[in-house]
């Protein structure tokens, strides 16, 4: 089990896939996610997001290090490809959730996700990508898990459904104190919903902390080109004699620049654009 108040904890976690040309998908990951957080898992393609979620779900064994997550009964996982049995009907798929989670299944929570949008007799194979996502999310929420792992949950949804389901998810998590880890490429979907951030890059944790702390630790500045020491430059661009930079400040920022706190999107984009070595791409 995990420590008190910690929903998920990794210690020097690493995963190497077998086979030619495949190396470490994840290496040296150490972090602790407090319970009740809504954590955004961000990173470029191939950063190790899906691997981290599958390790957390217990579907993969770590190659090295450890991961402390709730047992199978207490977590729910929606994989990126939303695997469902194609020849079961929607109603049968939800019944499956009830049969495989005896004593914990919450039909009301599952039905809230379904929102009467789907014909219960429709076969899963005839559903659109977005409809499948809805069924997969219903299965996950119906399980009443402590930790909800969602791998790009909203990618297939239209903006309306995305808005509705995101709202529902946040309300459900807040009501039940569920910890959520959600990977996504859609930065706007994370803004406002997530209070914790885990940024992976090249299989390693680059940023880890609450969104508020991370935003407060960074400064977006514009002004004349000058030495930015002692601050850590995340990303900088110069246009003529004008400098725009996102820095992780060490002490107060004093200089001829205009400063402002970055938005979550600014912060993520800046970190995603830089190469793993930290220099601008």
């Amino acid at each position: 089990m995990t420590r008190d108040g910690i929903a998920l904890e990794a210690d020097l976690l690493g995963k190497k896939y077998g086979g030619r040309g495949r190396g470490w998908a994840l290496r040296g990951c150490t972090f602790a996610l407090p319970a009740g957080r809504i954590c955004a898992l961000v990173g470029p393609n191939g950063a190790g997001k899906s691997t981290l979620l599958a390790l957390t779900a217990g579907l993969l064994r770590p190659t090295e290090g450890t991961i402390q997550a709730p047992p199978r009964e207490h977590l729910a996982y929606v994989a990126q490809d939303k695997p469902l049995h194609p020849r079961l009907s929607v109603a049968d798929t939800l019944r499956m959730g009830r049969e495989l989670n005896p004593g914990r299944w919450d039909e009301t929570a599952a039905q809230r996700v379904m929102a009467d949008e789907l014909d219960p007799h429709a076969l899963v194979r005839d559903l659109s990508g977005g409809q499948r996502t809805r069924v997969a999310l219903a299965l996950a929420l119906g399980k009443r898990a402590e930790l909800l792992l969602l791998d790009e949950p909203m990618a297939d949804l239209d903006p309306l459904a995305r808005h509705q389901l995101m709202g529902l998810l946040m309300a459900d998590a807040a009501e039940n104190g569920t910890t959520v880890v959600m990977s996504s490429h859609i930065l706007t979907e994370l803004e406002g919903a997530c209070d914790h951030l885990l940024l992976l890059r090249g299989g390693q944790v680059r940023l880890d902390g609450t969104v508020d702390e991370l935003l407060a630790a960074h400064t977006l500045l514009t002004g004349p080109v000058a030495d930015l020491a002692p601050h850590t430059v995340v990303e900088s661009r110069t246009t003529g004699r004008q400098l725009t930079a996102l820095i992780r400040h060490e002490g107060p920022v004093e200089g001829p620049w205009e400063t402002q706190e970055p938005s979550l999107e600014d912060l993520l984009l800046a970190h995603l654009r830089t190469t793993p070595e930290g220099a601008p791409a």
């Binding site: 217990g58 199978r72 994989a79 695997p83 079961l88 049969e99 495989l100 989670n101 005896p102």
Partner: protein, 306 residues
């Protein structure tokens, strides 16, 4: 095939493969109906050699023999492909293994459900085969020891189907491709059964019949419906010689030069009373192999999914 009383992963398995279950039930009923119809339609031709009786039934029983030999291969292919490898290939195992059911229970419920269908269905098919066999038993190509008839009339076929189940569970996990796993399981099951079949006639000591040497290419007659093994010549000291040993010297069959000291000829055979002992010993061996395959399948599962 009521799903009302089924619970948990058993409900899921039955629901997932309900079309296959109906197909199996339909195939068994169709076999029964065809066999009964054939028995009514096809009558013995009076006064003729029994080996040519029931012409239509004989053809149908020939097909039935071949189908029964292939039955374990089909079972193995289905378990390996649609039941195991497809879940791994399509990713639906991620769904199953993140519910509140342990991996062992997940695979166990699949295999128990499959077994609960395979065993009664195989027994029913054996019963149906025996129904038709009753009319042609002991005649040409339907002796108890004949390939096909031997398997299709006894418990060994049930054990073979269970071995196929175990091999399917193992190979389906190792080869995570539906079609490849099906083909490979069919192949491996066939090979293992062929190897075990090679041992079949060594499972019981043969009986030996000796008869005086008479001129001509006559093999002593073994009791009716016996499986004839080796035959040849016996010398005064009890040594066995090939049946053509004298012919090599005298160019006349079974006329031996005095210096060879041949006193009689012999035939080794399994009488039809060996049918049940051989069936039961072979069933035991195949069931033991099935247990090994199942154990390996669960070891692989536990190694991959804690």
């Amino acid at each position: 095939m009521s799903t009302l009383t089924l619970k948990g992963p058993y409900w899921v398995t039955v629901r997932q493969y309900r079309r296959t279950l109906w197909l199996v039930a339909g195939a068994v009923l169709l076999s029964l109906a065809s066999m009964v119809a054939l028995m009514y339609v096809d009558t013995p031709t009076p006064g003729t050699d029994r080996n040519f009786d029931y012409t239509v039934l004989r053809v149908a029983m020939d097909w039935a023999s071949s189908a029964m030999i292939l039955l374990p291969l089909i079972v193995g292919a289905f378990v390996a492909g649609p039941m195991v490898a497809r879940e791994l290939e399509s990713g639906t195992y991620k769904l199953a293994l993140t519910q509140s059911v342990s991996p062992s229970r997940w695979l166990g419920s699949k295999l128990l459900t499959a077994g609960a269908v395979i065993v009664p269905a195989t027994v029913a098919l054996i019963g149906i085969y025996r129904l038709g066999w009753g009319n042609v038993a002991g005649t040409w190509s339907f002796q108890w020891y004949e390939a096909g008839t031997y398997e299709a009339t006894g418990p060994v076929l049930v054990a073979q189907a269970l071995l196929a189940l175990g091999l399917g569970a193992l190979i389906g996990q190792l080869i995570r491709r539906t079609v490849t796993a099906m083909a490979l399981t069919g192949l491996v099951t066939g090979l293992v059964l062929l190897l075990v079949g090679q041992l079949r006639w060594s499972l019981m000591p043969v009986q030996t019949l000796t008869a005086p040497l008479t001129e001509g290419m006559e093999i002593p007659n073994v009791p009716a419906s016996s499986w004839q093994d080796e035959y040849g010549l016996v010398t005064a000291s009890g040594d066995r010689l090939p049946s053509d040993a004298c012919w090599q010297r005298t160019e006349v069959w079974n006329v031996c030069p005095a210096d060879m000291n041949v006193v009689a000829q012999y035939v080794d055979y399994h009488p039809s009373s060996h049918y049940w002992p051989i069936q039961l010993i072979e069933t035991g061996i195949v069931l033991a192999l099935a247990a090994v395959a199942l154990y390996a399948a669960f070891r692989v599962l536990r190694a991959r999914h804690p």
